[in-house]
Amino acid sequence: MQGGSTGVGYGLKYQARCISDVKADTDHTSFLTGTLSLKEENEVHLIRLSSGGTELICEGLFSHPNEIWDLASCPFDQRIFSTVFSSGESYGAAIWQIPELYGQLNSPQLERIASLDAHSSKIKCVLWWPTGRHDKLVSIDEQNLFLWSIDTSKKTAQVQSQQSAGMLHYLSGGAWDAHDVNAVALTCESSVQLWDLRTMKTTNSIQHAHVRNVDYDTKKKYMLVTAEDESGIHIWDLRKPKFPVSELPGHSHWTWTVKCNPEYEGLILSAGTDSAVNLWLVPPTSDDSALDSLVESPTRRVEPLLHSYTDYEDSVYDLAWSSREPWIFASLSYDGRVVVESIKPHLPKK
């Protein structure tokens, strides 16, 4: 399954770890990505897929003060995004606004709307509610969960509430439920914690070690996908958190990230440190007969792996589905190469 170079490529100058779909841009398929360089001037690239889908065009190139560990585009304003950055020891997170100078590139200065500077330990990620306009923001550091109230017009961000996940739980990341504005899933060393933002308390947890990344299924409520270092990908029904609904083999080395397709149910992309991106199709199981289908599954066990894109030079750390054209995704390998691929040839025939 050697993937030919079917994708459209774009090279960043330095190594990079994060890419995000610009969801609020409804006219173009565009992505934001930021570099990770310890010693050089880091950059944020706004790239757009040309209308023919054959070329990636740099729409904006902005310098960023520190190396970027996490980047998320605001789902309701295409000019706003958040980053988590570090320089040596210090960590920080901020919300930025792209200046109103599209296409001219002569003032590549980002405007810092707000700093999320209440953190005391290593910040892991910043989450926007994926579904629509929401005036809250979640940021996660190693020990704490912060809920921020932000106002982009007034350019303010205030901590609304904060809760420690406990000293012994090293948080590593999380995801915000697209179906429920109050539900957030956090990954930590030994489990996935499900939080309710109203009470700021853990409502439930999935005891599963070494979860590296987590994503809510945007099409199906209660469905959560996790990626683990060694043991691949698991799909969970949050109402039955004891055992996974199904399991995918994952990658030859660690599975770093998983992303559910925003449009096609059961389509999952995963990226791993074996320099590959895998496209999976999980056969739909109805909620109630999840167990039954497991029992009968030997008879209709189909190969869930639709395609493996292996044309990467280094570990792939981030992926983004385009929400505008849900058959398109962008992947970013550590060597700073963005590849945009279309999964159209692998879509199941309806």
Partner: protein, 786 residues
């Protein structure tokens, strides 16, 4: 006549039609239009042949004739024509005469008919008159004789009545006589004859007579009852007695019920006996030589009692004509009970020899019974029951086999858990389970072959089904075995949550490795051998129907176990690398790398890593084959990554710590990547020591690289990593066989560290060497001490 006439008419009509058609068109294909055509062009096409057609023109013909022929021909033609004309004339005359004759004779006939009809009417009337007179005379005779006949009839009736009265008065004495002479049949015939009269007049005129005869009949009934119950009487006599009792309206049903109760009791006794018999045969198995006498004795006793039962059944069939249903039920109950007992036996583990013995006994019983009860269809019934029993037997045998194998496996697990981990415990477990699989399967097959070798009718009839069941059984068995392995390995998820593996027991890595090897063994040796065995003695079958294909599909099982073997090996590697990952994770998340102190010695995590690898080595060496030492193979790559550069270049770069150049270095790195051959890391794992170990080392190093990439280092941190890696370089060479890949990965780790380092200045090689040597010396010292 008429038919002939019809034929004639038909003939005539046909002739008419022919003539008409020949008149109107000489040529059937040509009609009016072509006719015209013909005449118009006649001058041109005229020939002498037109003489016979309708368009004959005499003048034209003459002209033509004169033109075409010479004188001689003309003369000749003239003579011919004259002769023909004469002939035709004669024919015509003849026809006219014949017709005239026929007409005359017809006229004559009609005249005669007219004469004959006159006078017929008068004759008919005379006949009617005579018949009337005969009738009136016969009526006269009838009326004159009527009175006398009536009188005679009345006298006759009176006489009959008188005779009956006489008979009734005589009845008691007659009955007495009959009882004395034991002619019960006659007595009952008399009594039943008199019954209607007693019913009508018993209360009045014949009271005494009735009482007396009833008393007599009561005696008779008692005697008959005694006769029915006494076994010494002949069956015929008993049957007659029952018949007579029935004629007396005696409630025979009660009798029957009583008798059947007796029979039932008898059967229960028999059943107990048969159970004893099976027990005896079990004992017999334990004492293979000495017990046979006992066995034959008890079976003889059993046969005797069966014969007795058969006799009884035969008798009852004759005695109670309507008792068949009950007897059938009894017989079927008997067979069912028998098989039930056998089923109970099957629940304990027992061999086909015993099953055969029991089946043989049952079959002979069944045959005996079916002689007297052919309607019961007992052989069929027994066949059905035997079918179930044999199927049960096969199923349970497979179940036992599965248990044996899992026992062999879990024993190993328990032993390992108890810490009695001897040098070869895994090997022992593998050997034991291998033996359990192959020996168990062979035993099972041997057992089943005994079933097939048996020549009794019952099993011959089941032969095809047994073959199918055995094949199916193996198919299912390996399916469940696969599932069971999954369960043991802890790999199967929620589906197995309710099964008996207690939660929280972590599956031991060794067991997974054993499972991997066992799967491989099953695929490579067990299945072929079983297939061979099945082919040699279990071919045929085919009651399954062809559309399903053969029941036993070795290819499918092989595939299952091949993938299972790979899966377990993967799982083993996964479990092992997970352990190593924990070590690495602790190492990299705990310290603050940005404030790291200068390295003084190789960090102890290296020891932990090496210890893990050593543990894997000992496990792997016990079970897996050595495998060929081969260098890095490119063809089987699954994934790939690239080295950024060759060694000298890197060293070169590391020595230069110029930050300004870092950017160009990165470019350089990219350029180097473009030209560098891709280095495969994630190659396919094989079932060999080297392959497994190398894979684990590679995966661990890749993890190391990934952990490094998540950190930021100061100079000392970088140097520490450099030192650790340098140490690993020398030690890992001894463990992993794919040196190139390992070296490459180690370098990658250093590159990654350099990339994540704020101030990447490497240690001086002499210092590096010194520290590595110190560590090596320390290690060897430790070994020598221990």
């Amino acid at each position: 006549m008429e038919v002939e006439e019809g034929v004639q008419i038909d003939d005539k009509a046909k002739r008419m039609r022919d003539m008409l058609s020949s008149f109107y068109s000489s040529d059937p294909s040509s009609n009016a239009s072509s006719l015209q055509n013909y005449t118009s062009s006649s001058s041109r096409f005229a020939t002498l042949d037109t003489i016979n057609t309708t368009s004959f023109d005499a003048n034209m013909y003459m002209n033509l004739l004169v033109q075409k022929s010479n004188l001689e021909n003309l003369l000749q033609k003239h003579v011919e024509m004259a002769a023909e004309i004469k002939n035709l004339d004669t024919d015509l005359q003849m026809l006219v005469y014949e017709n005239y004759n026929k007409f005359i004779s017809a006229t004559d006939t009609i005249k005669r008919m007219k004469n004959n009809i006159v006078g017929m009417e008068a004759n008919m009337e005379q006949l009617l008159e005579k018949i009337m007179s005969v009738q009136s005379k016969s009526d006269g005779v009838n009326t004159s004789l009527f009175d006398k006949r009536e009188h005679i009839e009345k006298l006759h009736r009176t006489r009959n009545l008188l005779r009956k009265v006489q008979f009734i008065y005589d009845l008691p004495t007659r009955l007495e006589n009959c009882i004395k002479s034991e002619a019960y049949a006659d007595a009952i015939k008399f009594y039943t004859g008199a019954m209607p009269i007693f019913k009508a007049y018993g209360e009045s005129s014949f009271q005494d007579c009735k009482r007396a005869s009833e008393e007599a009949v009561a005696v008779i009934i008692k005697k008959l009852q005694g006769k029915v119950f006494s076994d010494s009487e002949s069956i015929q006599a008993r049957a007659e007695a029952v018949m007579l009792l029935k004629q007396l309206d005696f409630p025979v049903i009660n009798l029957k019920v009583k008798l059947f109760e007796k029979l039932d009791q008898f059967l229960v006794n028999l059943d107990l006996e048969s159970v004893e018999l099976t027990n005896a045969s079990v004992d017999d198995n334990e004492l293979p030589k000495g017990g046979t006498v006992l066995d034959s004795a008890s079976s003889a006793a059993h046969e005797a009692s069966i014969r007795e039962f058969v006799e009884a059944v035969r008798a009852y069939r004759v005695i109670f004509l309507d008792s068949e249903q009950q007897l059938l039920k009894l017989a079927q109950d008997f067979v069912t009970k028998h098989f039930e007992a056998t089923r109970q036996q099957i629940k304990k583990q027992f061999r086909s020899v015993e099953l055969l013995a029991i089946l043989r006994v049952i079959w002979s019983d069944v045959l005996l019974i079916s002689e007297v009860l052919p309607e019961a269809d007992l052989p069929d019934y027994a066949l059905q029951a035997a079918r179930i029993v044999v199927k049960d037997y096969i199923d349970s045998t497979f179940k036992h086999l599965l248990l044996d194998i899992s026992d062999a496996l879990t024993k190993a697990q328990v032993r390992q858990k108890e810490g009695v981990e001897g040098e070869y415990s895994l090997q022992v477990a593998l050997e034991a389970s291998r033996k359990a699989v192959i020996q168990g399967s062979m035993d099972v097959l041997l057992n089943f072959r005994q079933l097939l070798d048996e020549n009794s009718d019952l099993l011959l009839k089941l032969r095809d089904s047994i073959i199918d069941w055995v094949q199916e059984g193996f198919q299912n068995f390996f399916g469940t075995l696969d599932d069971h392995f999954l369960l043991l390995s802890g790999k199967s998820n929620s589906a197995s949550q309710n099964l008996n593996i207690p939660e929280g027991i972590s599956v031991l890595t060794g067991l997974v490795l054993v499972l991997a090897q066992l799967s491989l063994f099953i695929e490579q040796s067990a299945i072929p051998r079983i297939t061979e065995e099945i082919a040699s003695s279990f071919s045929g079958g085919g009651t399954r129907g062809y559309e399903y294909g053969p029941a036993f599909v070795p290819a499918e099982i092989c595939r299952t176990f091949r993938s299972a073997g790979e899966k377990f090996l993967d799982l083993y590697i996964k479990m092992r690398t997970q352990k190593i990952s924990v070590v690495l994770r602790k190492r990299f998340t705990a310290p603050n790398w940005v404030k790291h102190k200068e390295p003084r010695e190789v960090h102890m995590f290296v020891d932990l890593l090496l210890r893990e690898l050593e543990a894997i080595g000992t496990e792997v060496k016990q079970i897996l084959p050595q495998g060929l030492h081969h260098k890095h193979r490119r063809t089987e790559s699954n994934g790939s990554t690239t080295s950024s550069r060759s060694n000298p270049l890197r060293d070169d770069r590391l020595s230069r710590s110029n930050i300004q150049k870092a950017r160009s270095q990165l470019l350089e790195t990219h350029l180097a990547k473009l030209f560098k051959q891709k280095m495969e890391i994630f190659t396919k794992v094989e079932h060999t020591q080297g392959s497994v170990l190398t894979t684990i080392v590679k995966l661990s190093l890749k993890s190391l690289q990934e952990f490094v990439r998540l950190q930021t280092f100061n100079r000392s941190g970088f140097q520490q990593i450099q030192l650790d890696i340098q140490f690993l370089k020398t030690t890992l060479k001894e463990i992993a066989e794919d040196e190139a890949a390992v070296d490459f990965l180690l370098d990658e780790v250093i590159v990654a560290t350099a990339e994540r380092c704020l101030d990447p200045i490497p240690l001086e090689p002499p210092i590096l060497d010194k520290l590595v040597q110190a560590k090596l010396a320390k290690n060897s010292e430790q070994i020598s001490v221990s």
